[in-house]
Chain length 287, copies 2
């Protein structure tokens, strides 16, 4: 039986810490503010938004919801982004992606100020996560993996970590953050010749392939820690990860469940980034 690396205790610990930070900022007259910018009414955006609202409410972050119709014009959307850039009560902006196809998502990303980019979509945030400098923020889900590893005391220094997936949202940024923590990181993907071999050698395995069942029992071994970032729907209509949990869990040392694993921590990381953005803006104002 593997240890279950559940998200709930990670979130609980983060929330408590963040509530303390909000109180500290409050003494300095700062109320951290998040703007959620949504175009249209996609069901998964709405579900994430509800979760983010609840989380921010618990922690004490003000939330401004900005909803635009699915057929909004590019200019109108850019104007809203610019207004949020200028709004001093807004420290972080979450823009739901993907945007409807008639919009130029690249131009929208470019319009957002990196210092308010709490979900790592701007070039500034990418340069930050690549270089390890405090420019912008990494994507929340990638950071959530790091928070889970940190909370459960999994030391990464000198460890072999295999990352499956090379997206800008998870694979690449999580690889950079693992490297920052002194792990020896191997980046795998659909073209990797021997994926089972690359998985077997790992001490920690981060699976963000975007496809159910990519990792099964034959890929893993005793003693491994598995972080499953996938969210898929199986044949029975149930949520499942990228890892075949039923066959992998009995073998490895520890594994995140899906649901109730990485996904649970994401909105707490979003809150963490908003608070950090508020803190940085205060520092910038005072310097």
């Amino acid at each position: 039986m593997a240890e279950l690396l559940k998200g709930a205790p990670v979130t609980a610990a983060l929330n408590e810490k963040l509530q303390g930070e909000v109180a500290e900022l409050g003494k300095l007259g700062v109320l951290p503010g998040l703007a959620i910018l949504r175009v249209g009414e996609r069901e998964d955006d709405l579900a994430y938004e509800r979760g983010a609202l609840k989380r921010c409410n618990t922690i004490g972050i003000a939330v401004k919801q900005v909803v635009l119709p699915a057929d909004v014009a590019q200019d109108e959307l850019l104007k809203v982004v610019n207004d949020l850039n200028e709004d001093k009560s807004v420290h972080g902006v979450l823009i739901f992606q993907p945007l409807p196809k008639h919009l130029d998502a690249e131009a929208v990303r470019a319009a957002l100020k990196p210092e308010k980019d709490v979900d790592g979509i701007t070039d500034g945030s990418m340069a930050g996560v690549f270089s390890g400098r405090p420019i912008g923020y990494p994507p929340c889900t990638a950071k959530a993996c790091m928070e889970i590893l940190d909370f459960y005391g999994i030391d990464l220094t000198g460890k072999r970590v295999t990352v499956i997936g090379r997206s800008l949202v998870i694979g690449k940024p999580v690889a950079m953050m693992l490297l920052q923590k002194n792990a020896t990181v191997t980046m795998c993907h659909t073209k990797t010749a021997d994926l089972p071999g690359e998985c077997a050698k790992a001490e920690v395995l981060v699976v963000a392939a975007g496809k159910a069942g990519v990792v099964n029992a034959s890929y893993v071994r005793e003693g491994q820690v598995v972080i499953d970032v996938g969210i898929n729907v199986d044949n029975d209509g149930k949520l499942c990860g990228d890892v075949d949990f039923a066959s992998v869990e009995p073998i490895v040392k520890a594994i995140t469940p899906v649901p109730a694993g990485v996904g649970t921590v994401t909105t707490s990381v979003l809150a963490q980034h908003v608070i950090e953005a508020a803190r940085r803006s205060l520092k910038a104002r005072n310097s």
Copy 2:
């Protein structure tokens, strides 16, 4: 006996191709221009500058040398960078690093327009190499490794590549470019627990540790391709790489020598980036 992956033929092929590209741009009324900005008179800057001048001259790129005294004021240097940003005859700017200690190198890097950043020092270039989009340029030395692999027909798809070193100048950008070429990339560094093991499993080994003798015979095996990015001076005052060439060369399939390997290709890549910058600026003007 390993195949010697010398830089000279790579450079010769690149130069010929680039001369053709300069001729094409010439027909469109564009003369690619590089500005070299040097502060002070460091000997290795001067050596590189001589090489770059010669290379640009051969290929047909105009070079503007801007030399500032070692005690130049920050404001003065920033003004020069801004002037080069605005100078339409300058498509690429090379700023020698490190700058003298009294200067704020971060602010200087931030001042340079990414579209003129032909040696990958700006945040824009870093976002570009991280995301694989055409923003700015990767550092020339990192790109030189890729040109050598390409010239010698070393296919990277699905191959295991181990990179030693995680600097922003070589390790990280070369890892991103290898990933872009569909390699399975392992990033190693000083905290890696089993460096010999990580080297042994590689089909291609890129060594950018910044230290002589980091890789010796016990780290390598038959069939491997070794790219040695190091430039060090040995006890006899001779140039040497990060790889112990004498012991490694008899074992592996192919290896770049030092000198006459990666370093030889760097200024051709610089020229390549200047020409690409001229082409992009023409495209931007026409669109």
